[in-house]
């Protein structure tokens, strides 16, 4: 086998031209494109991390706000419940006082009414007793009895 020096040189030059052209037309743009892509991915990752971090912060903040709101709501509810309970107790106390006063007044009125009726009844009974005694004496005393009574009264006079 014969070695053709010119052919080797030609092939070498040809290889060099191809290498140059490939480097110029293909490798550099591809590398540049890959670098740009890597850069974009990196930027995207950074942005994503930043967003994630911001989202986490936001979430944390949201949770804090929510917790605070819940705490405030619980406080308001507690205060409102306490106030309502206080008002209910006051209303109940007032109602009880009023009922007790009315009951006492009714009791007093009833006692007064009973006492009045009792007095009236006693008076009626006394009048009835005297009237009955009078009627009975008038109808039962004979002339002889009356004479005896008159004599007895006269005997007691001093």
């Amino acid at each position: 086998m014969e070695i053709n020096l010119w052919q080797i040189i030609f092939q070498a030059v040809n290889f060099g031209v191809v290498l140059f052209l490939l480097n110029r037309v293909l490798y550099k743009p591809v590398i540049k494109m890959l670098d740009d892509r890597a850069k974009k991915i990196n930027e995207g990752q950074l942005a994503a991390e930043k967003n994630l971090k911001a989202s986490a912060e936001l979430d944390k903040e949201q949770k804090a706000v929510l917790a605070k709101a819940r705490k405030e709501a619980a406080g308001i509810t507690r205060e409102a419940t306490a106030e309502a309970k206080k008002q209910a107790e006051a209303i109940l106390y007032e109602a009880k006082q009023k009922a007790a006063a009315e009951s006492a007044q009714m009791h007093k009125n009833a006692e007064e009414s009973i006492a009045k009726k009792q007095k009236e009844m006693e008076s009626s009974i006394k009048d009835l007793v005297v009237a009955t005694s009078k009627k009975m004496l008038e109808s039962t005393l004979s002339a002889s009895d009356i004479s005896k009574i008159n004599k007895a009264i006269a005997a007691k006079l001093k």
């Binding site: 006394k126 005297v130 005393l141 002339a143 009356i146 004479s147 009574i149 008159n150 009264i153 006269a154």
Partner: protein
């Protein structure tokens, strides 16, 4: 001439002599003088009598006693 004072006796029925004598004795000791007794029958007295003498009234009747009893009970 002296005039006797009059004692008015209201009775449920006319007093008999012995009763009248007792009453007269009482009135004499009460007024320190002899009195002329005048009787008036009042059946509403039931029994006993009421003496009116010297502007005063002495009630010894059953009616009066009942009235006193009623006053005490009221």
């Amino acid at each position: 001439m002296t005039t006797k004072s009059i004692a008015l006796i209201r009775t449920s029925s006319k007093l008999d002599a012995s009763t009248l004598k007792l009453v007269n004795k009482h009135l004499t000791s009460l007024s320190k003088q002899n009195l002329s007794i005048e009787q008036v029958v009042d059946p509403s007295l039931i029994a006993g009598f009421v003496i009116e003498v010297g502007g005063k009234e002495y009630d010894y009747s059953i009616k009066g006693s009942l009235a006193k009893l009623q006053a005490q009970l009221s």
